[in-house]
């Protein structure tokens, strides 16, 4: 199937797809914002974030605002390219 080979297994889950969508149009988004937007539980999101970071699609920045820890995320160049290719694949599938 044309386009099928362009789909990325890393983006198979809804949560990861949503995560990448948010990060592809915003840079440095906080964990809480992502959680609110995707409406997922902590554990669920954390595991997806971890696996995307492992394959270097995400960049994580941990900092302190006063005494409160703040974790923010950004998509890497590699992640962005992979996501674009995935979208392209979906579009090709749609044209069939």
């Amino acid at each position: 199937m044309k386009g099928f080979d362009q789909l990325n297994k890393a983006f198979e889950s809804r949560v990861r797809l949503g995560l990448m969508s948010i990060l592809s149009v915003n840079s440095w988004v906080s964990y809480k914002e992502i959680k609110d937007l995707l409406e997922v539980t902590d554990g669920n999101l954390a595991s997806h974030v971890q696996s995307l970071e492992k394959i270097k699609y995400l960049e994580i920045k941990k900092q302190f605002i006063g005494k409160k820890p703040l974790t923010t995320y950004k998509v890497t160049k590699m992640g962005k390219e992979a996501f674009e290719k995935h979208i392209e694949g979906l579009e090709k599938l749609l044209l069939k």
């Binding site: 386009g3 297994k9 198979e12 797809l17 949503g18 969508s21 149009v25 609110d36 995707l38 979208i87």
Partner: protein, 216 residues
Amino acid sequence: MSKINPKEELASIRNMMEKSSKFSNLSGLSIFFTGLLTIIAASVIYFDIGFSYSDVEISYSQLINNEGSKENLDQKIRLLSLIASVILALSLLILYVTASKKTKREGIKLFNPTFKRTVRSLVVPLVSGGVFSFFLIYNQMYGLVAPATLIFYGLGLIAASRNSYDELEVLGYVELILGILASYFMGAGLLFWVIGFGLGHMFFGSYLHFKYDKAS
């Protein structure tokens, strides 16, 4: 990998991109009503519909032409500011109530990052416009207040449109051009105000209503 629905996936990607980057919680109808409110208030002032307070007629034309005594003028400007403030407060209240209702229905938070970004881009032009207008009044250049508010408001909308509805940019340019025209036709400032803040918001509000609110 077997049941992949590319159409649905692409739609959800686009949806999430929009939702996370654009502030779109204002209800179209509420914007429409703020426009209507402006027109009603401005007409009362503009057409001197016998609205008076302790014998001072609230008349825009008298104000522009510096008619009447100094004391009289001061009282007028205070009354006009009062009316304007009441309208502004009422409009903000309407916008707030409807927006919080809408966000509750959609299960998202009103004070989300896109809201903050939109407000942040609005604040600089609006506050500078407000301070500038205050000094125009202070220096008794009443005729330029309406044009100035239109210009600064337009600039604010153009800046805010990056984080909100794209159409805000159009409304912003409309306000800006009206403000510039109003600076030339200074005596008719309130009329331009009615067009910009009144009709402009009514058109914009109904456009949003039919394009977004009703569709979803």
